[in-house]
């Protein structure tokens, strides 16, 4: 059993959390700010430092082109897939992006792939956990939407690796939620988990018995969530503005990243308010001192979001069909995800499954808590988890492209994982040493309607007459829901080498490079931070010195002492705006030393003034770090 802590991480579209098993129950680990939720927002601040989470949120409005949110929507996807996303989200793509290449997003002047951005969020969570434990954390369980395809899962795993985490398991979010729900072993029966988050929707049907959590069927939509509600409200607001304040101004607002960001914040607040109030007010500052104000009633809101929420019905019905179950046979419905707080969503779920959904669990935290339970199981288990076992399924059918642009399904959706299938191939040409295989995911018949997963090139087939080689190819979907392929030519017994070209993913080499790069950035970022802090310190001491020179104690120094101080003062001013940390540091220390006597004299003057009835106000030590003497070294946190 490992002595390292294994944590459970919910890497969400809107918010992320890290949790672990504390004795008998899972708990969320808070950040330095004491909050459990870390917004999945990454920004570059004024000094080009990476900022993650709550601290990054203000940049969404202040400098929207230097901030990014909801990057989960881009994981494992290519340029062609995200055209819709680009219309609705302020993602800025790198200019030189080619089709088929991994996406690169611009934050300020830097570019990052989605896994790298997610890695920054993961790194923040990792640090929160390490701070909490006072020990390193290198192993984690990370959750993914059940309906995530292979590329999206691989991207999540890559993000973990880039962040320096060994991802022991990817767990499906609804399954994780069921673990938190069913931790009490007495729970058994058929449970439905309805998970509507910021960007993804999952519906899973599970059978719970004797501590076994068995998924029977799962379905969903990886581009459906609270974000879509927000975007709809934003679109309506922009229309309103065009109508009220003119087409030209409306278009100007639409083009302003900052204005749209303000509108977005306002609609989100209104949306949340409408979960408990009959109406909400939008009040947004627009450019040119104008304002947008509108009152939204609950009734109008519910009408607006109806089509979005209705999109969850299809997957629910399909899952029930795949499971061979009717709503009457369901024992419990569990709600997960912030968007399930919307009363209309709850009513829809109640209608669909003909029972009142279970709402005791915090929909924002339950997935992370479940991940912590799974982390505990993987670490060897404890008294409360030792009888628990997760049996999950693959959400999408796996197929191979065959002649005629058709897919041949070799592993069907909702098959319990790990699952495998074996196919036999041969060569068409004498002496052919390579065989190409195109693997897809999806339920449709035609290749073009399915999702290309990867192209496998089997190399090293011993040259033989055409048709003679018998190449056994084994497709294995592991417990993470990720595909592995191995191949063997049976006549010679030779293992074929497999070259994988992931369609929307990073190669192992690329991930390795990012790992090093993120360390390089960390190093560079750290050095930059040092310089900035030294600069601040230099400013403090120089300002204090300027005041000191006006103090009656100044003339009490010898002219030589004064000349010495001023020389050092000029020297520090010369270096402080440069990038040489050591030079600035040296300058500060030298000036500190040289002004010791001045400080003492100023203190004596102050004390004697006080004794004479004057207050300390005259000396004005300036707000900020309290120093022993006015030009002493300041304490920075």
């Amino acid at each position: 059993m490992s002595s390292d802590y294994i944590v459970g991480i919910d890497l969400g579209t809107t918010n992320s959390l890290v949790a672990y098993m504390q004795g008998d129950s899972p708990v969320v680990i808070p950040g330095e700010d004491g909050l459990n939720l870390v917004p999945s927002v990454v920004a570059l601040d004024e000094n080009n430092q990476i900022v993650v989470g709550n601290a990054a949120r203000k940049y969404l409005i202040e400098t929207p082109e230097r901030a990014v949110y909801s990057v989960k929507r881009l994981m494992g996807r290519g340029v062609d897939d995200i055209q819709d996303e680009l219309k609705l989200f302020p993602f800025r793509l790198a200019e030189d992006l080619q089709a088929g290449e991994v996406l690169r997003i611009k934050i300020g002047e830097r570019t990052y792939t989605p896994p790298e951005i997610s890695a920054l969020v993961l790194r923040q969570l990792k640090r929160n956990a390490e701070r909490f434990f006072g020990a390193p954390v290198t192993q984690a369980v990370i959750t993914v939407p059940a309906y995530f395809n292979d590329a999206q899962r691989q991207a999540t795993k890559d993000a973990g690796r880039i962040a320096g985490l060994n991802v022991l398991r990817l767990v499906n979010e609804p399954t994780a939620a069921s673990l938190a729900y069913g931790l009490d072993k007495k729970k058994h029966g058929i449970v439905v988990v309805y998970d509507l988050g910021g960007g993804t929707f999952d519906i899973s049907i599970l059978k719970l018995h004797d501590g076994i959590f068995e998924v029977i069927a799962t379905n969903g939509d990886t581009h459906l969530g609270g974000d879509d509600i927000d975007n709809l409200l934003i679109a309506i607001a922009l229309d309103d503005i065009r109508g009220d304040l003119g087409l030209e101004f409306g278009n100007e607002v639409r083009r302003s990243g900052e204005a749209v960001a303000r509108i977005r914040q306002a609609v989100i607040e209104a949306k949340i308010a409408l979960s408990s109030q009959p109406s909400a007010k939008l009040d947004v500052d627009l450019p040119g001192g104008k304002k947008y104000q509108r009152e939204i009633s609950l009734e109008v809101f519910e009408q607006m979001i109806q089509p979005i929420i209705d999109r969850t019905v299809g997957p629910c019905k399909q899952a029930l069909k795949d499971a061979g179950l009717k709503p009457e046979q369901i024992d419990e419905v569990v709600l997960v995800g912030g968007s399930t707080r919307i009363p209309k969503v709850r009513r829809l779920v109640q209608d669909l499954f003909q029972r009142v959904p279970h709402t005791d669990l915090n929909p924002d935290e339950v997935v992370a808590l479940g991940a912590a339970v799974q982390a505990n199981i993987l670490g060897g288990g404890s008294e409360i988890t030792k009888e628990m076992l997760l049996l999950d399924v693959t959400p999408l059918s796996l197929g191979i492209e065959v002649a005629g642009g058709v897919t041949d399904k070799i592993i069907l959706r909702n098959s319990t994982i790990p699952a495998s299938a074996t196919q036999y191939y041969t060569t068409q040409i004498d002496g052919q040493t390579n065989v190409a295989i195109h693997v897809l995911q999806g339920e449709r018949e035609l290749v073009r309607d399915c999702r290309s997963l990867a192209r496998f090139d089997l190399k090293g087939v011993p040259p033989m007459p055409a048709g003679l080689p018998r190449i056994e190819v084994k497709f294995l979907i592991d417990a993470n829901g990720i595909l592995r392929v191995s191949a063997r030519e049976q006549r010679s017994g030779k293992e074929a080498e497999i070259d994988v070209q992931p369609t929307y993913g990073l190669t192992d080499e690329q991930v390795e490079n990012m790992l090093l790069e993120s360390f390089d950035y960390a190093e560079e970022d750290f050095r930059q931070r040092q310089v900035i802090e030294a600069r601040r310190e230099a400013d403090t001491i120089l300002t204090a010195l300027a005041k000191g020179k006006k103090n009656p104690a100044w003339p009490e120094l010898t002219s030589e002492e004064r000349r010495h101080v001023e020389t050092l003062e000029k020297a520090l001013v010369a270096v402080k705006d440069g990038d040489d940390y050591h030079a600035i540091r040296g300058g500060i220390d030298a000036l500190n030393q040289a002004t010791m006597r001045l400080a003492e004299l100023m203190m004596d003057t102050a004390v004697s003034s006080a004794l004479k009835g004057k207050t300390m106000d005259g000396t004005d030590f300036e707000e900020g770090p309290q120093a022993g003497h006015p030009v002493a070294k300041a304490e920075f946190k």
């Binding site: 059993m1 076994i212 076992l389 049996l391 005629g404 058709v406 319990t416 294995l476 417990a479």
Partner: protein, 224 residues
């Protein structure tokens, strides 16, 4: 006889051995199977073979557990379903599921030819009549016409086919009994030749059942 998944003395997971699904579960190669017993075995083996149990084990054990549990899941999935179980047995016994074979389908797709579909003799007349009706229906649809009498006729035919579909499963299960008896020995069928005959009969039932299912699907499509 059951495959050895664990060492008898130390209980550690063993490297996977390529065995058939029946042996994997320790079941005889019979078609009548206690599904409840199968399920119990499945859960018991899952608890011990699942990769989650080996998360902290060495790389070799993790690899074995991955292979063993994928075999376990594949085996369970196959044996649980009566039709998949039958098809699997046929494959084990070296019988090729002809018209339904992937090669035939692929060849047909590649050349654009129609796949050879042998009409089950007892359905010949019914199929002929039904196909005529469907042609008529398609023609009418193109013209935007609607003939309730025709629809009723086709509806009746579909019902009859669905009944046949169910009846074929019953017929299959009768063959199961014969097969199981032959495995036990002591009957006239317990010879190589006898067993081949039973297998052939089962194959025939499966083919006819598939044919009927495809036909029902055609009807549903035409009626949309």
């Amino acid at each position: 006889m059951r495959a050895v998944h664990f060492c008898s003395s130390c209980g550690k997971v063993q490297p996977p051995v390529p065995v058939d699904y029946f042996t994997f579960f320790g079941f005889p190669r019979k078609l009548n199977l206690d599904v409840a017993e199968l399920e119990k075995e499945f859960y018991a083996l899952s608890r011990r073979l699942h990769p989650d149990v080996f998360a902290q084990a060495n790389a070799e054990e993790r690899s074995w557990s991955l292979e063993q549990s994928s075999m376990l899941n594949d085996a369970y999935r196959t044996l649980k379903d009566p039709i998949k179980r039958t098809e699997y047995l046929l494959r084990l016994e070296g019988v090729e599921l002809e018209e339904q074979s992937k090669q035939a389908t692929e060849k047909a797709r590649a050349t654009g030819e129609l796949k050879k579909q042998v009409v089950p003799p007892d359905l010949l007349e019914e199929v002929f009549e039904l196909n005529m009706h469907l042609e008529e229906l398609r023609g009418q649809k193109k013209m935007g016409e609607d003939d309730p009498a025709l629809l009723e006729e086709i509806g009746k035919a579909k019902l009859s086919l669905e009944e046949k579909y169910d009846a074929l499963l019953t017929e299959l299960k009768t063959e199961w009994k014969e097969w199981d008896k032959s495995v036990d020995g002591g009957t006239a069928n317990a010879t190589e030749e006898g067993r081949r005959k039973i297998l052939a009969k089962m194959l025939d039932v499966l083919n006819r059942r598939n044919y009927v299912r495809n036909l029902v699907r055609d009807v549903n499509e035409a009626m949309e």
